[in-house]
């Protein structure tokens, strides 16, 4: 089925492990690795500085990466800020708005990265969710609403349009965390019509160390101060450069931006339609497997989700389940998955085990996963 996609990932040639931790980070295709290698070996230099050939070329390629990201999500290049990761993007927005705005609400399903910054800096409220993960918009009159497109635990796809109708009624600012959606679903910021959108490169096959902030309007105060983001500096006063530069203090993640450029090229070469088709098949097989074993997964057992599945096995501790899978060369994650409020809200006091799949996973791997899960289930039955 997707064997041809899998062949693009050298790690699977070198290693026969089953990698189901894709919601945490994704593997890197050869195209990304080789583009970065070629860049480093031929023209690596700092950007926006020298007039030597390599510096000009590096600057051009860094800015081309920005243009590519912009085009990819239907934005303009000056609306794209490169950061370290989605966490830094969210912090940039949270710090950048705090002089003008005081009240913020987020959903209880947020990853800690879209929860803690707001909790620490704002008059803070939490929106509940339904059991299927759907956000309940029952807190009115906030200045800012920050919410996730796809839950990193439940995997459900939120109805952004509906939530945005509510946010617009409140005349509030919106931030959408697309960290778990951009690698599965086509993102169009004009259609979504959010004020801010964030994601990380490493969850979409690029390197670690690159994140993106899309901003509809450059209304943020600068977050990090330093070189590159300034226009003039004197002993008494500093003036800042234009956006997006004024949000990118210091030497930016140049190599990482090149990797993101290549990762987007890779995604475009497959196409979201094909990716979704592969993932739907994987999702169906996963849901069927859980049903056959009578193991409940969080959220709804329908297809309005990306292939992220969180579960528990009897009374066994999640860490043990994860470790038993590890002993069979199957990589999962256990714990709260950086979403402790969500687990507590749904009554999973000790967390869950999570299997998250991606386009290079296949049905044989799912069969091996369920063979082991069945054994663990019979182990769990021995434990009260």
């Amino acid at each position: 089925m997707n064997s041809s996609i899998r062949e693009h990932f050298p790690i699977f040639k070198n290693n026969d492990f089953i990698y189901f931790v894709n919601a945490a980070t994704t593997q890197k295709p050869r195209l990304v690795i080789e583009k970065v290698k070629e860049f480093i070996e031929t023209t690596y230099a700092n950007v926006h500085r020298g007039s030597y050939k390599e510096a000009l070329e590096a600057t051009e390629r860094y800015e081309k990466a920005r243009e590519h990201v912009a085009k990819f999500i239907n934005a303009e290049p000056e609306q794209i800020v490169f950061t370290k990761n989605a966490t830094e993007s969210i912090n940039l927005v949270a710090y950048g708005l705090r002089k003008k705005y005081k009240k913020c609400a987020v959903s209880v399903a947020e990853h800690h990265s879209n929860f803690v910054p707001w909790q620490q800096l704002y008059d803070f409220s939490v929106l509940p969710i339904k059991e299927n993960g759907e956000i309940i918009t029952n807190v009115k009159n906030k200045d800012i609403y920050a919410f996730t497109h796809v839950s990193n635990v439940i995997g459900n796809i939120n109805n952004v349009k509906e939530i945005m109708d509510f946010v617009k009624e409140q005349k509030a600012i919106s931030l959408l965390d697309a960290s778990q959606s951009i690698n599965h679903i086509k993102i169009d910021v004009k259609k979504l019509d959010v004020d801010f959108l964030v994601f990380s490169g490493h969850k979409m096959m690029a390197f670690t160390g690159i994140g993106v902030l899309y901003m509809k309007e450059p209304i943020l105060d600068p977050f990090l101060f330093g070189g590159q983001m300034v226009s003039h500096v004197s002993e008494k006063i500093t003036t800042f450069g234009n956006h997006p530069r004024k949000y990118e203090a210091g030497t930016p993640p140049i190599i990482e931006a090149i990797s993101l450029d290549a990762a987007i090229t890779f995604i475009e070469s497959i196409g979201y339609e094909k990716m979704m088709e592969i993932e739907k098949k994987l999702t169906r097989k996963m849901i069927k497997g859980f049903e056959e074993l009578g193991i409940k997964i969080l959220g709804q057992e329908n297809e309005n989700r990306v292939p992220i599945f969180s579960f528990n096995v009897g009374n066994l501790h999640g860490h043990d389940v994860e470790a038993i899978f590890a002993s069979k060369n199957i990589a999962l994650r256990s714990g709260f998955h950086c979403a402790e409020p969500l687990h507590k809200f749904l009554g999973y006091e000790k967390g869950t085990v999570r299997a998250s799949l991606y386009i290079y996973n296949n049905e044989e791997e799912i069969e091996r996963f369920f063979e082991v899960l069945e054994k663990i289930k019979s182990m769990a039955e021995k434990v009260k």
């Binding site: 043990d320 967390g351 054994k375």
Partner: protein, 121 residues
């Protein structure tokens, strides 16, 4: 760790020795693993610095439960002054699994030991 290690741990975990509360205990120690929320409460009957009885309660994973169970077994009859010198390697040998490279699980294996060490500094 191998799959068989877990099968062995499960068989100990089903009926762990020293699980429960001893009524005449004169030392009670509680500790929580902040990473996962697991907790352990240890009860000791100590006479003239010698551990006469030991038991534990708590909600924990296989590794933390089996480690606590076997550690308390080991400590019965020993002097509490020995506790501060016990290293995590002892736990690894008691449970017969080397977790030295597994940083997150070391915390599980040493939960009871660290509770005792905090108390008997």
């Amino acid at each position: 760790m191998e799959f068989e290690d877990y099968e062995r741990l499960i068989s100990i975990y089903q009926k762990p020795k020293n699980k429960g509360r001893i009524e005449n205990a004169n030392v009670k120690i509680t500790k929580r693993n902040d990473q996962c929320g697991d907790d352990v409460t240890i009860y000791l009957l100590v006479e003239n610095d010698v551990i006469k009885e030991a038991s534990f309660e708590g909600n924990g994973c296989l590794i933390s439960t089996v480690s606590a169970s076997l550690l308390l077994d080991y400590l019965k009859g020993k002097n509490v002054k020995e506790i501060k010198n016990i290293e995590k390697d002892l736990i690894f040998s008691l449970i017969n699994i080397d977790l030295s490279r597994n940083i997150s699980r070391i915390k599980c294996a040493t939960l009871a030991l660290n509770a005792l060490k905090d108390h008997f500094k």
